[in-house]
Symmetry: C2
Amino acid sequence: MNTDIKYDSRQKLLGAALKVIREKGYAAMRVDDICAEAGLTKGGFFHHFKGKEDFAVAAANYWSEMTGGFFASAPYHLLPDPLDRVLGYIDFRKAILRGSVPEFTCLVGTMVQEAHATNPAIRDACDASISGHAAEVAKDIAEAKKLYAPDARWTAESLALHTQAVIQGAFILAKAKQGPEIAADSIDHLKRYIELLFNRDSTGRTRDDHRNP
Amino acid sequence: MNTDIKYDSRQKLLGAALKVIREKGYAAMRVDDICAEAGLTKGGFFHHFKGKEDFAVAAANYWSEMTGGFFASAPYHLLPDPLDRVLGYIDFRKAILRGSVPEFTCLVGTMVQEAHATNPAIRDACDASISGHAAEVAKDIAEAKKLYAPDARWTAESLALHTQAVIQGAFILAKAKQGPEIAADSIDHLKRYIELLFNRDSTGRTRDDHRNP
DNA sequence: GACGACATACCAACCAGTCGGTATGTCGTC
DNA sequence: GACGACATACCGACTGGTTGGTATGTCGTC
């Protein structure tokens, strides 16, 4: 694999996207902003990308790769019990609510809000990113469901997507209120929900009381 | 009170905002789009609003008024039990997921995503709208909490804001997937969470099993 | 020279906002 | 009621700065 990159301009441009799009969204993002952030000029930008939209699609894919790697190396994966892994994922989500609001919020969740009706390529790239991540979370949920709530009426996929809805919504509230506290509260509610769903109390013990949420 | 409006241009412009902003967001919304939708020209627009930003702030306030009235007249308010009213609100939320995606999603949730870092006036207007609505929901939650979960560790305000996070996040997923089904699923999860929180099973009976989620 | 990776200069379309103008409404005076 | 002065509502042409994109130039490598 050719990873010996002599020129890293493309990476710089995509890295710039992570910052600029989360600050301003897609429409307000200017190619000049990206170039300034990357320390390049438009010539370099248009050498690598056909246009602004093409760049945004590539940025969504880049975001997906970066965050995919980040989550794949998170320590909760080492837990043997699948439910512990799910709850570990939620705790991890809460733990990474750090820095300024643009730093902890989601590039694809931001972009899909504005581009959903007017730019199908961007929307689809964002959907792929969100759905791909949810599918990863769904794996542990499915295992936990099999062990602890085999007869529950909800599906692992549905719950996984719900976690993403909560997290994306929490980011909106964090943006409105300019800080992570409100988002952390919502993630606490999500964790409590999952504990209740699996009949696990705060001591970590999973109780059996015959309820089927 | 002088409600005999001879000219309704301002209303038309604000009504146009409800459509255009939900389709394209703030930055991509052009003054010309609004004028076209309202059947007026820029002269008329700039007569009523100082500029694009001023208009967006007014649109957020208008959205807040309109939806405030809409929710105030919803039938779940007639239920005597506060917990029934909370669950009725959730059911109502699910029931109004109709029409095209821009038609059932939120103007202020959309706008705050892009404007949060770059436009404080718009952000604050959006925050006021979201928070004001959550405060209305929190009233019934507080009553229900007092009756059914007085010792719970979460606050009514926190749960109310969580409902908004879920709903906003559900809209993001609906935009990504271009339909209401995914949002309805997430709202089902929210309802289940609230039922679990208040120890209410699906038959409508609130059980007492000494748990304090 | 060919090519890739950029930089710089330039372009044309775009778009928020301006401004002179017309149309309509209001009010006081006769 | 007629009239003039003034205010309000709106129109449409226009402006000028901006922005995505194109054309051309430069440089290093082979």
